[in-house]
Symmetry: C2
Subunit: 330 residues, 2 copies
């Protein structure tokens, strides 16, 4: 009997210890901020050709379903794939109408806006955020009645007023309507003199950085990326910036005169090296870099880019290769 | 021996008779034109939303692989599906480069040109055929460097000269370069004052008629469709016109003020009735009508449109509902 009682007591102690241990471990996760801050559903990840899979990323704070779309190359097909994978339920139009609260467009090249234009008849009222240069082209060259019915609130008459243009200011943080997020924007050089935008998204003390198409400073004869790295270096050191989305369109073999404002693995890693000098190399170790806009060219360019990036990753970045409708958390 | 000789003779006679019979039957097939004149690979069939499946039809004479694309909403994804179904071999870019000899664009709405713009970097040199109003918008609002690199031979400098604009004249038949086909074009009304185009494709004595988006004459306050029916009625009676591709975007429930220059089943059948008065009803019996541009809206609009068309088909047209990458022959 004594033995039995002792055995029961020991079991009891074990269970209590386990519970205490588990709750410490849980609180540990929370204190270290290792619970994700953002969830991202890539609706399209490629840098061209495949109309079913062009740049667009749905982003929301981890505990929210109020998403924005960072670029809008492919929407409908990506959402439908996400429904197939049980990430969303309902139909594509209802997800677009109810869960996408606004669009942030980095630049007006067709592979970044086609999904927004094509799906506008089925969409709900919301804002399109962008720098002036970008919204100007959407206004004058897409929502013109000649290209497409003008679902926006400016430009060629009659305006159907479903979308409201919201001009961002590179100096200012702007609240994104109907979400828990704000955005700061930074100019990028995309085949000088053409421009693109980086968006720094904030939810509380957590940040996510998304770059639209961009060339390297050395190729573009620009300091736009350097200014961006200066702006975010402290956020990386403070572990507030959770992830960077940045493009690598071409493999290293692409001649530098035919980059058209894009990065290669070597050029990306050069930029990362510049960034690491501002943050210290320790802060960049295991830092998540999501590689966007890989061009699906012939000669296995996609595989080449991945292999080269992995080989040239001397900083030990955590390289992430996103797939359409596969949820990411950072 | 005599018996054997007789038997050989009889066999000989049988074989000769069979050959004569077969050649008569073959020539009969040829005279009745029951061998197909055209083959068509739909690369995209829908009237919106789904970026992976927007209006585009590859058309070639039955015995040729020199295709044109009638509209170019989705190219890459459609070709890839056709490769999956063994209609083509190789990769999508090589089919686009080698088998598509030119584009005929009915009107410049994005769902009819997105695939052409997006895939232009991987394409080979060829012509873009269209009426002036259509090519003007492609020139001024798509290939502008601001929207996309200018792969054409006119407009914003520098011109990369991969595509040559070929302005069609509604009064004239134009040879389509590097194919065995010619085209005559007809103006359509697509939400007056906006326009669209019908293309009458000819190979020898065989014709195919493709209409871009169009409203009904009664709604558009137009006679554009009537003029088109007048132009093709004799070709139908002579059995030279093999098929008509025409849109039905909305079900009958769509309010007539919200048609945006599109047809419903009832409006299509009214137009077919007008056509049948010019051809006689017998000529329309079993005549193939390919229904394009059905909008994938909520509330099962696609099924509704099909059901209504079948119900309202008093002329006994042969209604064909095309699917992406499923080959058609007429």
């Amino acid at each position: 009997m004594v033995n039995n009682k002792t055995s029961h007591l020991m079991n009891y102690v074990r269970v209590v210890l386990l519970i205490v241990l588990l709750s410490f471990s849980k609180s540990g996760i929370s204190q270290n901020n290792s619970q994700p801050a953002f969830k991202i559903i890539p609706l399209g990840v490629k840098g061209g050709s495949d109309e079913s899979n062009l740049s667009s990323y749905m982003v929301a704070p981890f505990h929210s379903d109020n998403y924005i779309c960072l670029d809008a190359g492919t929407l409908y097909f990506g959402i439908r794939q996400a429904i197939n994978k049980k990430i969303f339920s309902g139909n594509a139009a209802s997800i677009l109408r109810n869960n996408v609260k606004g669009y942030l467009i980095s630049h007006p090249h067709l592979d970044h806006v086609a999904g927004l234009i094509i799906n506008s008849p089925d969409d709900s009222s919301k804002k399109i955020y962008g720098l002036q240069f970008c919204l100007d082209v959407i206004k004058s060259n897409y929502f013109t009645w000649k290209n497409w019915a003008n679902f926006s609130n400016e430009g060629d008459k009659p305006t159907l007023n479903k979308y409201q243009y919201a001009v961002l200011d590179t100096g200012k943080e702007t609240a994104i309507e109907n979400t828990e997020m704000t955005v700061q924007s930074f100019l990028l050089s995309h085949s000088n003199p053409y421009q693109s935008t980086a968006f720094l998204i904030r939810n509380n003390e957590n940040y996510l950085l998304y770059l639209g198409d961009t060339g390297a400073d050395e190729i573009e004869k620009s300091n736009k990326l350097f200014l961006l790295w200066q702006a975010v270096a402290l956020l990386i050191k403070a572990k507030k910036l959770k992830v960077i989305f940045i493009e690598t369109s071409f493999p290293d073999e692409q001649p530098s005169k035919q980059l058209f404002g894009h990065l290669t693995p070597t050029l990306l890693m050069n930029e990362m090296s510049t960034l690491s000098k501002l943050t210290g190399v320790d802060a960049m170790k295991d830092f998540p870099i999501v590689i966007t806009h890989i061009k699906p060219l012939a000669n296995d360019a996609e595989e080449k880019i991945k292999t080269e990036l992995i080989k040239e990753n001397l900083l030990n970045l955590r390289l992430v290769f996103p797939k359409q409708a596969e949820k990411l958390e950072f």
